[in-house]
């Protein structure tokens, strides 16, 4: 048999290592690789991709049936929910402060503090805190979350071009990690990283969310932008070398294919199975383009994706 020489690329760059948690809390480190995903023959991948489970600060009544069934009663209590998420294998909890949204209750700093503290108390894994994605409210509740979690090295998001200063500043003051989110665009992602760095944030305190498109809803677009970000990073561009976080669960479960069982062709198969595949496929695809943190919703996806990661890490 002829021997095939595997071409090995020599990269000059390396993804920044970002630590979350620590100081009594479990520590999770992401990044640090100096090669493309899972190419172990080419470089080193010191930290495997990790999985976060999304927890809302209110009962997610509008979620799809398979999710409601899988989690059951804990959905009423963020702390209990987070605890169960850790039991099913979450490396991190991604707490979404949904009720701060002006149309979802418009709660403020006090409520944010209370929920963040209760989740921090319930679990010992690191916490990601996400705002309602309304810049003004994000600023209010994330600053409160930041104070509640001082010293716990949370990840706070999302910084966008409009409000990165406030969240960046509070991360600096309390020693947290900031998540910069940009709409599937390499230069905007890079620019936000530069702006956050200008603010004084060190490179090991930044994550980037390139914005996830679910399977069938722009997945390939996200994949391609992430791939390019990663290629640029490995090529030596420090301002694209931040580990990437993808909100897969939120995007996958939002699509018709993950929600509807009525009025769809029989060939689509039963909803319960189809919805899970949707989340899994989105997650596993994005692992291949360099995702470092994947935020999921369904417990059995956590298991499936974790098993994929374990196998890919060899």
């Amino acid at each position: 048999m002829p021997t095939v020489e595997i071409p090995v690329e020599k990269w000059s760059g390396k993804i920044h290592e970002v630590r979350l948690g620590g100081q009594g809390r479990k520590e999770v480190v992401v990044g640090g690789e100096n090669t493309l995903p899972f190419l172990h023959f080419e470089g080193s991948i010191p930290n495997p991709p990790v999985l976060a489970v999304e927890v809302l600060d209110r009962d997610p009544r509008d979620w799809a049936e398979p999710l409601l069934q899988a989690w059951g009663d804990v959905l009423k209590n963020p702390a209990a929910w987070a605890k169960k998420a850790v039991e099913v294998g979450a490396n991190l909890i991604a707490l979404r402060l949904k009720t701060a949204h002006p149309e979802e209750g418009n709660t403020g700093a006090e409520e944010a503090k209370r929920v963040v503290s209760s989740v921090l108390e319930a679990v010992d894994v690191p916490l990601i805190v996400l705002g309602p994605e309304v810049a003004e409210k994000d600023n209010e509740v994330l600053v409160a979350a930041s104070e509640a979690g001082r010293g716990q090295r949370l990840a706070l998001g999302n910084c966008e071009e409009k409000n990165y200063r406030t969240i960046g500043a509070t991360c600096l003051a309390d020693g947290h990690v900031a998540i910069g989110k940009t709409p599937i665009e390499i230069n905007l992602a890079k620019q936000l990283n530069i702006l956050l760095s200008d603010l004084g944030m060190s490179q090991d305190s930044l994550l980037m969310d390139p914005t996830t498109g679910a399977l069938g809803y722009g997945l390939e677009y996200t994949y391609s932008v992430m791939e390019r970000l990663r290629l640029a990073a490995l090529g030596g561009d420090k301002m694209t070398s931040m580990p990437m976080i993808c909100t897969v669960g939120e995007e996958a479960w939002r699509q018709k294919e993950a929600k509807t069982s009525e009025g769809v062709p029989d060939t689509w198969g039963p909803l319960a199975e189809r919805a899970l595949r949707w989340e899994e496929m989105t997650a596993i695809s994005l692992l291949q383009s360099g995702a470092n943190i994947i935020v999921l919703r369904h417990p059995s996806t956590v298991e499936k994706v974790q098993s994929a990661i374990t196998r890919l890490m060899g």
Binding site: A169, T170, L172, L188, G200, G235
Partner: protein, 740 residues
Amino acid sequence: MSRFIATAAIKGANDIFNEAETLYQKALKEFGPDGKIGFPNTAYYLPVIYGFTGHKVETVADLVPALNFAKSLLPTPPKENIWLPYLGETLDSGVATLFAEEIIEGIRFALGQQPETRNGFTFNGPIDDVQMRSWGIAMVDGRMPGFAAIIGAAKSNEVAVKIVRELQSRGQLVFLAGNVNGRSMVDQLLEEGVELGYDTYTVPFGSDTISTIYAMGYATRAAYSFGNVKPGDARSMLLYNKFRCFAFGLVLGPVTDLDYATGAGAINYGFPIVADTAVPHILPTGVTQYEHVIGMPFDDIPGDNDLEKAERLVQRCIEIRGIKVKIAKVPIPVAYGPAFEGEIVRRDSLRAEFGGKGGICFEFLQLKDMDDVEDGKITVIGPEVDEVDEGARVPMAIMVGVAGRKMQKDFEPVLERQIHHFLNGAEGIQHMGQRDITWIRFSKGAVNKGFRIKHIGDILHANLHNHFGAIVDKVEITIHTEKAKVEELIEGARREYGERNARIAGLSDETVDTYYSCSLCQSFAPNHICVINPERVGLCGAYNWLDCRASFEINPRGPNQPVLKGATIDPVKGEWEGVNQFVFENSNRAVDRMTIYSLMDAPMTTCGCCECVMVILPETNGVMIVSRDDYGMTPSGMTFTTLMGMVGGGLQTPGMMGHGKYYITSNKFLLAEGGIKRIVWLSKNLKEELAEELKEASEKSGAPDLIDKIGDSESAPTIEELMTFLEQKEHPALTMDPLM
């Protein structure tokens, strides 16, 4: 450096140091070396000392190294007969002063003398940590520019209130300290019933100059919390404050030696000092962003009354510190936003129009001196819109005066061109054209809602600040609607338009050392980077070199970055070392060489937005140029869209290139391949649109009748017909050096 100020500051520093040393002895006697020293509700020990040296003061004994450090900085006052640049000594004595002041306040706390109580009023003392955090975040995210540390007392209570109100209206925190003959600004404000405290952003520190140290402590702690500054890294701390904390000192009333010494300390932070008395100026920039020390004797400030003078005084402080104005909402009675940009005002809904057929209307934006522009002043001279007949055509001159530290004459047209975009955002207002072909229409609806001519001024004032704040500090608008005056002013404007044209025509690639990049299109063409030079407009036609330069000034982290030309590799092909390096690094290392004047050797890449595509037609030994607006077939057998698909996406394809239409008439057009004489075919619409410019360029190239020899879709729709046409016309390309 003023010798007078140096002498006063050094003397002030020596005096306060002695006071601190005496007080230290007292504390040592009273509390012993282990006695506790510190400020309540604040972290970072004695913050200024900690910031400069990393030394933690927690006890009386800990004061010793701080005192020693301050002492080591103390210079001797300048001798009568020796003249030196005293800046270094003055700044050092400033730091020594801050140390001494902080030591004094620290001990006063231990003695129970701080926060100060006077006439039944308790001052604030240092700002506690919770408040510092909250304000610190507001300063980082820009809601609050910085603070004004006021020392002394204003000319009158009325003036004191006005100064505070003016500062508050700009989001500036106000810190109060010091006194003049026992009277302080705090007394003045209290007498006038002004609320003081965190809630009103007006914090009384104390009644002496020493308490100003709490302002410096605040600045130092903010740098720790929000600037990622490590204790003892004085340089980072000072730079943080210089660039992030827009603070300044305002000394009201006679300036004492201690005031000078404290001011010298503040200058170390990049905070300039303004006094309302006659003090020597320190004008050159350096440690601070602009001037260091300015004296504005209050009674000499122009203004009809004290309140106007107070307003000017604050305005001057704002300018010296470089604080930018932001206007959250355009203050007009109709809706404003991009949704109204395409709106058309038709005849039946027309209230009045300005310019257009037979009318006269122009807009003219001009750079002026700082002192000649009063920010926010809007004047309408002549009839307002509600004073003219319905449907009337009214003459109009929109004169915009702008001033700014970083504003340049070359940016005038860049800003002026935005007037179109700005005015169109208003509901019921239509703007067309530019310069002296401006045509504006007001709808009945808009005028009924209260829109007036003066609101044009409001729109321009708000938008110029919001969009061009980086280069514009002040904007004043005067609008004339009297025919005679408009006719008089338009002459001057036209002269200036002519001069601008000449200036741009006179700009050549050789006269500049920097080109600019544009990476706007990398979102869809990741390996494409534009390099824009004076003689080659961006391939989309939207950005010329001046636009890019202004864009870079406005947004230094934006898509237009300077590209240093570096050594010339080939002046004819237009190849420079700096450009190659920049392109390589910014094309994801996909393009390692790029020429600017050649089609055949490493031509510029194209994103997909080009106005024209140029393609070699080998049979003709020339090139054809197809315009984006040309939907027809070309002699190459391909339409614009097909050609675009081949050249776009950041690929380098020798023989094919995208470019802006005005590149065709540039002196540098296809320099490497023989210039404009290479064009054998041109889209008909371009031929017509650029007729005049093409004629001029042809004459320059030595082939004045060239344009008649260039084929188009009518005279030569196919390559065979084109060949016959070219031979018939004896097109010069046929006999030029072979392209391939």
